[in-house]
Assembly symmetry: C2
Homo-oligomer: 316 residues x 2
Amino acid sequence: MPYPQIPAFSGAPGVIRLAGHRGARGVLPENTLEGFKFALTAGVKLLELDVTATADGVVVITHNHRLTRSMVRDAAGNWLQGPEPKVSALTWAELQQYDAGGLDGSTAYGQRFPDQAFLSGVRIPRLADLLALLQQPAHQDVHLFLEIKSDPDLLADTAARQSLVQSVVDAVRTAGMEPRTVLHSFDWDLLADCQRIAPEMPASFLTQLPENDSEVGEDSSKEVNPVAGCAALDLPSRVADARGQFWCPYFEDITPESLALARDLGLLTMVWTVNEPEDIERMISLGVDAICTDYPGRVQRLLLQNGLHWLPAAER
Amino acid sequence: MPYPQIPAFSGAPGVIRLAGHRGARGVLPENTLEGFKFALTAGVKLLELDVTATADGVVVITHNHRLTRSMVRDAAGNWLQGPEPKVSALTWAELQQYDAGGLDGSTAYGQRFPDQAFLSGVRIPRLADLLALLQQPAHQDVHLFLEIKSDPDLLADTAARQSLVQSVVDAVRTAGMEPRTVLHSFDWDLLADCQRIAPEMPASFLTQLPENDSEVGEDSSKEVNPVAGCAALDLPSRVADARGQFWCPYFEDITPESLALARDLGLLTMVWTVNEPEDIERMISLGVDAICTDYPGRVQRLLLQNGLHWLPAAER
């Protein structure tokens, strides 16, 4: 396999990789430079993040398609009132008015992350801002799961979808970060575009079986997730058929059998988003390649207690 | 009261101050620059830290008098074996051999902080390193609870004790940080030296009733804590008699009555180390001036949910 980025994502005897979900969502606000910098400080070498584009074509790091009341304040510092604006309907300059530095603890989403620090004056960053950070000499060993969020309102708009992929790929190429990036999505059609437009980057296929969906307060991925009706054991073959390099199942969906099949098919397996100690322990026992978590310190601790590490000795 | 630093530590209607205990021990290794920087990123404006001195007189930031097996690795990256070396017996150069970047999860102390990130290559910092960080323009509003640890082996050595105080005060004065520093100790005799040597800095009296001591895996402060035998309600008067400006009780020791008495006596009250949500809620209900915690994000969330903030509006 010709991809230079693959080894940095691969498990090995004694090694399960650690990916920081949206930075370190349990500790600092998601998809912010502050969160990514914390993850880097904590020795996390794989960062997971979400991107979409503004009305004026700037690729920005944010998860939901709309600025969400539970996690965004207006210019006056108040939680959003009225209709939640769509990121793709705002210019980059307009987006800078909003504060993404904390969660509203009265919401279901906020209550999922009771220890997250509350900052003010935090802006939704550009993808280019994070890539610039990672070009610094100290961060040359950091790799990305770069998740492209496809807009459910534009699923039929082929030109708009391809334009988004092209904008993301352009930003990665401008920063010379292709050898450290994996393109990641729930939208398998979008991943086919990625494979065609950017064949130098591996494609990472996210899956979540509908019966296990429990991510309260977030945009659903079900509109674009083609695995409804699949048996758990079918998932790896579906990814292999789509010429994927990574299979990234929701952690409740994976079984020893499906992991073994993925391995037989030559896929790397990263599970998300694993936060509870007993779930982390189960993923360690299974022996996945990588664990994506909101709590990097917690996963580090449990890996060490199991005699494992998130980096091979030569990379520590 | 002439002390310019007092307002930054004072509660007010709608405001309970937040102090980051040893940085943010729940998140990153204690008393490290990495931990202090995280606390600053999280908007924490009061930092609590512990200092002692090396054999060659360098004031360093560390809690225990001995390098402790549960949190220090040797130059080869192994947890300390054999006798734990005393910090005051090592030179600064020797101390640089040790790694203070993580906890051993198999120890009782390590198990108290299961989410703490595990770093490598982290050195015990000098007090001067932290003071230099806080002199940066972005951090001019950050104030310190600077705890001086008195060596239980040297309680009778007046010259050594005064020399430690003088070294700490010299470091603070060299950095021009006196107007942002409070000198803090369990050792009330040492605080008397502080008041004489550095009258420009308020004195902060730590107390812990013996019956409530439950800080597993840490150096005890009981040798120097003069409140054994006191009733809880006697503590504020004892601090006032010693001409203290701050009373800092262990959170389990404080009562509405003792807090009211402290207030009547003109004392500010900071409680430590408050980590569990129900304990944080009780301290919020009491209305202390400041809460010292290993989990700043958790305290921020609970303050906000109670309609409070850790900073007055003008300081946000």
